[in-house]
Subunit: 349 residues, 2 copies
Amino acid sequence: MSGIAEVARRAGVSKSTASRALTGAGYVSDETRRRVQQAAADLGYRPSTSAVGLATGRTRSIGVLLPYVNRWFFAEALEGVQEALHERGLDLTLYAARPDTATRRHVFRQFLTRKGFDGLIAIGLEPQDGEVERLLAMRIPVVGVVGTSDAISVVAIDDEHASRRATELLVDLGHRDIVFLGGGASAAHVDRLRMSGYSASMTDAALTGHIRFVPSDVTLPGGYAAAVDLLGDARRRPTAIVAVCDEVAIGAIIAARRLGIRVPSELSVVGIDDHEYAAMFSLTTLRQVPREQGAAAVELLQRHLHDREMAPTAVRLQATLVMRSSTAPPLSAESTVQIDMRERPAWSQ
Amino acid sequence: MSGIAEVARRAGVSKSTASRALTGAGYVSDETRRRVQQAAADLGYRPSTSAVGLATGRTRSIGVLLPYVNRWFFAEALEGVQEALHERGLDLTLYAARPDTATRRHVFRQFLTRKGFDGLIAIGLEPQDGEVERLLAMRIPVVGVVGTSDAISVVAIDDEHASRRATELLVDLGHRDIVFLGGGASAAHVDRLRMSGYSASMTDAALTGHIRFVPSDVTLPGGYAAAVDLLGDARRRPTAIVAVCDEVAIGAIIAARRLGIRVPSELSVVGIDDHEYAAMFSLTTLRQVPREQGAAAVELLQRHLHDREMAPTAVRLQATLVMRSSTAPPLSAESTVQIDMRERPAWSQ
DNA sequence: GGATGATGTGGAATCGGTTCCAGGCGAATG
DNA sequence: CATTCGCCTGGAACCGATTCCACATCATCC
């Protein structure tokens, strides 16, 4: 209820002095500052965000756009963004909308209809939709998480490299019949990067003839269903699977268990993510930490906020291999690679 | 860049007329309105949210407070809230912070330091922490999801009733040795409600002596670890489990499978939630739809927004039983209840 | 034909802050 | 001693919208 004028009156100073005392900008004597702060505390004074925003031209509020919140990567990244923003005293305005939906288009209209963000973080933008351009048209700093773009700053792991490492691991163990599980025709951009890393690695290993993509929904039940299909038929069954992500990988492991196929002796599985369930399923995977990516995006955004001329920068992280026990040499082959199985799963204590 | 003054000039009218034409408030001739709208479109005019907020006193922005975003219930509820808010042209400002953390306290300071929300939705507030009072002190409408409070409006299922139904189902099948899995000493409010529903039902069935709580983290790996422990020892093994939620229930099913215990013939499991993985594990459960709860909370909030004197209202939903095949009579007993197993799992097609 | 009311428009105040500018004061400088 | 400078303060303009009020016009109703 009470504005800064009230605070000023109570402290016996002018509005301008009160403002300076509270924001810390400009000269104010220690004694005056104390009195003003005391008056503000007494009155329970809260500055109006609208008024501050109008006067300063910045809202201290960041828009965050993403396709899902109920999926591991996005939820984790969102929490990372959220935490990093709050450390800096910035608010987070959320826009969640799946690609190619009416809601998504509506969000873009909303975005473009209202101006009121100091910056924008877009998680999992699909580049082809021309959305990057529309965001740039808002003339505020934009940082992406996942995906590539020359026009905006981006934080992401090298997805192609991650699936390449996953595939190489299996090749090195002696596998030849390695299937890529997940993705498919309507795959998202990241998924396609991972698919091409697999292809490249198979080609390098002179296994071009063995390249095989089995599509699935990019979810745990999706991986399960596709794997039941794939593994149920003994003639189609590979000795190893590279999964597009851990959720699909875990679905495949559950499917294998149900079918009585032993992991890793009869089937090796590698994922990408290091999902919170990965340890529980002893899944060998390439770890990325979306929470850190979110924090890095905020960091990058803040640099853009301070220096409006800063050129777009790509922060490309490296996924790290986490060796657990869902991978082993195929029954038919010999391998010279030794697996370190000493890791104690975190959930078992 | 261009404000409403620019639009007005281009349309050859005053600022006030331009404002009326664009907001739709007050009299404007059709011809004038058309000209103003055209001018606004030509200039790509976007009203400043700060200025609108200052002038009207409302920000069209709702604060949403929750403990986690990376857990099923909260992620789903958040998506529901988000979607419902956007349908109404309201923005969502997110505050995610775990209970009893420095961040949480910081968020409360933030909340109380800035005023700038038309309303507030709090998901999973723990009543004991005096947080409800602090939110009420903000003098804006508050709606809770999950939990009880006389002071604010709340949307939730009847948790006690849900676990009661779950327990009764098992009792009716002939089980006596029924364990409640999950929760524990530091359980959240909802968890304790579910625990007491179980107790009450066991007492009603004259099975007071069989009441047994096995604590676990309220996560899938937590349920797995606790169930491995519980089921690994044949002497402690119950014939049925009521889980505090589906994630714990699924953890238990996975544990049972790993230990070679057959579900449902050797072990029945009932959950609460109808988690997205529930169908895949054929889990019998009591369904709640957090997405709808989120939407209902928005609906309720909007009513409070329109009528500031409206009394706090509790919307208490009923969880509905979803019968799948994780439940059966115990091997030792006979049962008169027939289970309908005709449901085709959605993920299998 | 004058009063009434609905419609349409512009000027000016207002929301609640920040910030520019001018001015006062005391200490240091030339 | 006059200037200059650093520190401190208040007055007023300003940010960009909405909204109150006054006024003009025109049709309608006694």
